[in-house]
C-alpha cells in the first residue's frame, strides 16, 4: 500500500528522495517540450518550400470556407459507420460462434468460419471495397440494388467482422474451462452455457480491443469514396480540384482526429482498467 498524499505524517528519507526525483523529472520534461516546440516553430519556416506549403495546405481562409460543408459530408461517414457497426458486431459474433463450436455435426461451420476469417483478414480493405463495390453492381442489378452504399457497407462488414470474430474468439478461449464445467454440472446445455456464462464474460473482456477496431472502421469508412458516395474525403477532393488547394484535406484530417483521438484514448483507458482489474 502506498501512503496517500494527504497523509500528514513526516516523510522519511526514502519518501523525501522520491519526491525530489519526481519534481526533477517534471521540470526536465517541461523544459524539453518547450525547447522542442520552439525549435519546430523557428526551424520549419526556414525550409525553402515553407511559404508554398503554407499557402497550399494551411490556408486559413479556405479552411474556414470549406469546413462547414466538410463537416456536413462527415455526417455521411458517421451514418455509414452507424449502420455498419451493429452489422459487424452481429456477423462477427456469428463467425466467432462458428469457430468456437466443437460439436462434430457443426464441423463444416468451423471450417467455414476459419476460411472466412483467413480470407477477409488477408485482403486489404480497399481491395474488398473495389471488388464488391464495382463487381456486384456490375452484374446489372436493378435500382436500388446497385447502390454503392449497400455494397460498400457489405465490403466493410465482411472485412471488419473477420477481425471482430477473431477478437471475440480469443475472448471466448480466455474464459477458464471450469466455468463451462460449472455450468454443465448445473444441467445447462452447451448452448445455454455459452449464452449465459461464457459469452457475457468473453464480450466484456474484449471491449477495449473491439473499441480499437471500431476506431479503425471510422477511418476506413472514407474508403467508400472510391466507389461513389460523396462523404468527407470525396468532398475534400472536390474542393481540392475546385480551389487548387490542399487545405480541405487538412480540414478533413482535423475532423477525423476530433473523433478518433478521444475514442482511442477511451479504449486505452478501458484496456488499462481491465488489466488492473485482472491483476
Amino acid at each position: 500500500m502506498c501512503r496517500s498524499s494527504s497523509d500528514r505524517t513526516p516523510l522519511n528519507r526514502r519518501q523525501i528522495f522520491e519526491a525530489r526525483q519526481r519534481n526533477r523529472s517534471i521540470v526536465i520534461a517541461g523544459l524539453s517540450t518547450i525547447a522542442f516546440v520552439l525549435i519546430l516553430y523557428l526551424a520549419v519556416p526556414l525550409a525553402p518550400g515553407w511559404e508554398r506549403v503554407k499557402a497550399s495546405f494551411f490556408n486559413g481562409e479556405i479552411f474556414v470556407k470549406t469546413f462547414p460543408t466538410l463537416l456536413e459530408a462527415f455526417l455521411l461517414d458517421i451514418a455509414i459507420f452507424a449502420w455498419s457497426a451493429p452489422l459487424i458486431a452481429l456477423v462477427g459474433l456469428l463467425i466467432a460462434l462458428c469457430r468456437s463450436t466443437n460439436a462434430p455435426a457443426l464441423f463444416p461451420l468451423r471450417i467455414f468460419g476459419a476460411l472466412y476469417v483467413d480470407i477477409f483478414r488477408g485482403v486489404p480493405v480497399v481491395l474488398v471495397i473495389y471488388l464488391i463495390g464495382f463487381g456486384v453492381p456490375g452484374l446489372g442489378l436493378p435500382r436500388p440494388w446497385n447502390s454503392p452504399y449497400i455494397w460498400g457497407t457489405v465490403a466493410l462488414v465482411l472485412t471488419y467482422s473477420a477481425y471482430v470474430a477473431e477478437i471475440l474468439r480469443s475472448g471466448i478461449e480466455s474464459i477458464h474451462p471450469s466455468q463451462r464445467s460449472a455450468a454443465i454440472c448445473l444441467g445447462l446445455s452447451e448452448r445455454d452455457a455459452m449464452r449465459y456464462v461464457i459469452l457475457p464474460q468473453a464480450v466484456r473482456r474484449v471491449v477495449p480491443a473491439n473499441m480499437n477496431m471500431f476506431v479503425a472502421l471510422q477511418k476506413d469508412v472514407a474508403l467508400l469514396s472510391f466507389i461513389g458516395p460523396v462523404e468527407i474525403l470525396r468532398q475534400a477532393g472536390i474542393y481540392k480540384s475546385l480551389l487548387a488547394n490542399f487545405t480541405p484535406y487538412v480540414a478533413a484530417a482535423v475532423i477525423f482526429l476530433a473523433v478518433t483521438i478521444p475514442a482511442t484514448r477511451y479504449a486505452d483507458y478501458l484496456l488499462s482498467r481491465e488489466r488492473n482489474d485482472r491483476s
Binding site: H176, S178, Q179, S181, A182, A183, I184, C185, L186, G187, L188, S189, D192, Y196, V197, P200, Q201, R204
Partner: protein, 245 residues
C-alpha cells in the same frame, strides 16, 4: 444403512495411456457421507467427475437409484442436475451476483417461475447465513462465502447427491470452518454426500465411511475410527502418517 443411492461397479478411466481409475467398486447409501482421501494424483477428483458424468468412463457401470446412468448415448442433462458438485475454485460465475448465480439453473433448466425460484433461493441464503450477501458479486465475497454460495447454487437444483472436491483446500485457514459448518448442516439434513478432502479431522468427526485411494484404486475403506486408528494397509499407514504428522 438404508438402500444404495449411487453404485459404482468396476469403473475405469484413463487419460490417454495413463490409467487414472482402475476398477472402482463403491456403494453409497442414502444419507451416507463418504470421504475420499489419498495422495495428490490418486484419482479423487477424477472419480467425482465420473460420478456426475462430467468425464465419460471407459468401462464399468454407474447406477443412480438402480438406474444405469452410464449407458452410452443417454441424455446427461437430467441426470447431472440430480448430482450437485462443488469444485475447489472458480465455481461462481463472476459476471453474475450471488443471487443470479443461484437463480440461473432453476430458471433456465428447471423452467421455474422467477417468483418461485427467488423465494427458494432466499430461503437457502438465509439458511446458510448469507442473507446479507446475496446481491454481492463474487469478487466482493470472501473465499469462504464464495464456496458457500457455490453450495447453495448446487442445492437450488434439489439434487439427490452432493459431491465436493476439496472445497476448502484453496481457502485461508480461518475461512475453512465456516464452509465445513455448511457441510455439517447438510449432513444433519440427511443429504447423501461424497467428499474428496484433506481435512482429516473433519473426515474423522463426520464421515460414515472413509475410502483411501491410491493410484486409481480403493486400497482400503471403512468407518473413520477403523481407518484412522488401525489401518490395515501399509500404504494407508504411510499416507496417514504424512498428513497427520
Amino acid at each position: 444403512m438404508t438402500e444404495v443411492k449411487l453404485k459404482l461397479s468396476g469403473v475405469t478411466k484413463a487419460f490417454g495411456k495413463q490409467p487414472v481409475l482402475q476398477g472402482i467398486d463403491l456403494d453409497i447409501a442414502e444419507s451416507e457421507m463418504v470421504c475420499l482421501i489419498g495422495p495428490s494424483g490418486s484419482g479423487k477428483s477424477t472419480l467425482l467427475r465420473c460420478m456426475n458424468l462430467l468425464e465419460p468412463i471407459d468401462d464399468g457401470v454407474i447406477h443412480l437409484d438402480g438406474v444405469d446412468i452410464s449407458e452410452p448415448g443417454l441424455d446427461l442433462r437430467p441426470i447431472r442436475r440430480q448430482i450437485g458438485i462443488v469444485f475447489q475454485s472458480f465455481n461462481l460465475f463472476p459476471h453474475l451476483s450471488a443471487m443470479d448465480n443461484v437463480l440461473l439453473a432453476p430458471l433456465r433448466v428447471l423452467g421455474k417461475s422467477k417468483a418461485n425460484a427467488d423465494g427458494q433461493a432466499r430461503e437457502l441464503f438465509t439458511r446458510f447465513g448469507l442473507a446479507n450477501e446475496m446481491h454481492k458479486y463474487p469478487d466482493q465475497l470472501s473465499g469462504g462465502q464464495q464456496q458457500r454460495v457455490a453450495v447453495i447454487r448446487a442445492l437450488a437444483m434439489q439434487p439427490q447427491i452432493m459431491l465436493f472436491d476439496e472445497i476448502t483446500s484453496a481457502l485461508d485457514p480461518e475461512l475453512v470452518e465456516e464452509v465445513l459448518d455448511v457441510l455439517r448442516q447438510l449432513r444433519d439434513a440427511g443429504m447423501t454426500m461424497v467428499l474428496a478432502t484433506h481435512e482429516m479431522g473433519f473426515a474423522r468427526e463426520l464421515a460414515d465411511r472413509v475410502c483411501f485411494l491410491d493410484q486409481g484404486k480403493i486400497v482400503e475403506q471403512g468407518p473413520p475410527d477403523v481407518i484412522f486408528a488401525a489401518p490395515k494397509h501399509q500404504r494407508t499407514r504411510t499416507f496417514l502418517k504424512s498428513v497427520l504428522r
